[in-house]
């Protein structure tokens, strides 16, 4: 490594391209990791077996979510709404439902109790996801208002 290892050798167009590539890399890794976890679970993997991948995904997701909220950002194409959060929670619940359904189908002696437990997981996934998203929406709106207020004061 040279003495100027920390010096940015990229100009602004190269920097923008690099950021774009890093963004693509992030999403490829994110979805590949999520897919790897899902496939392992569908193939009968236990929570202990997927713990490593799950922790990495959780840390990355938490950093991304909290950094976005701290900077008053949601997504590029959507604004947070209750309806949108309900839709996202339904998708999460469906995902958990599919996982549980596959597990039940693989279990020859699955009884009513197992079905009830699976249904409880689906309901819990919906409720937790919805509460977390609503909490995020509340934080986002407060943060957005605070950041916009500071800008206005600075302007005057």
């Amino acid at each position: 490594m040279t003495k100027n290892a920390k010096k940015n050798n990229l100009d602004e167009m190269q920097e923008q391209k690099m950021l774009k590539l890093e963004e693509c890399g992030f999403w490829i890794l994110f979805f590949a990791l999520a897919a790897a976890i899902l496939v392992q679970l569908l193939m009968g993997g236990t929570i202990r077996q997927i713990a490593g991948e799950a922790i990495v995904l959780l840390i990355g997701s938490a950093f991304y979510a909290f950094s976005s909220l701290r900077n008053g950002l949601w997504t590029r194409n959507a604004v947070p709404t209750r309806k949108g959060n309900v839709s996202a929670a339904i998708i999460a619940a469906l995902l958990v439902g599919v996982l549980n359904m596959v597990k039940l189908l693989k279990k020859p002696d699955a009884g009513t109790n197992d079905i009830l437990i699976a249904a409880a997981f689906v309901a819990a996934a919906f409720v937790i996801c919805y509460i977390v998203l609503e909490l995020f929406r509340f934080v986002y709106q407060n943060r957005r208002a605070k950041l916009d207020d500071v800008d206005e004061k600075t302007e005057g």
Binding site: D11, E12, M13, Q14
Partner: protein, 72 residues
């Protein structure tokens, strides 16, 4: 994003100063690829870079990046 047209004013100002794209790029601290992209209207530079280009070419922001450039 609004597309930007080719910036022929920079090319003309460069010619006045007898500067190549490479020389101008080096003077403002960017790559020739980026300089070419600016002239071709493929990259929208920041105001800081616009000002650096203006300083080197001895022109104002309006002369090099004024609105009339979008019709060129």
């Amino acid at each position: 994003m609004v597309p930007i047209g080719r910036n022929l004013k920079i090319k003309a100002a460069r010619a006045e100063k007898d500067m190549t794209q490479k020389a101008l790029a080096e003077a403002v601290g960017i790559s020739r690829q980026t300089m070419n992209a600016i002239e071709q209207g493929e990259f929208n530079p920041t105001i800081r870079l616009c000002r650096a280009i203006c300083r080197v070419l001895g022109k104002s922001l309006d002369e090099l990046f004024g609105e009339e450039n979008e019709d060129d």
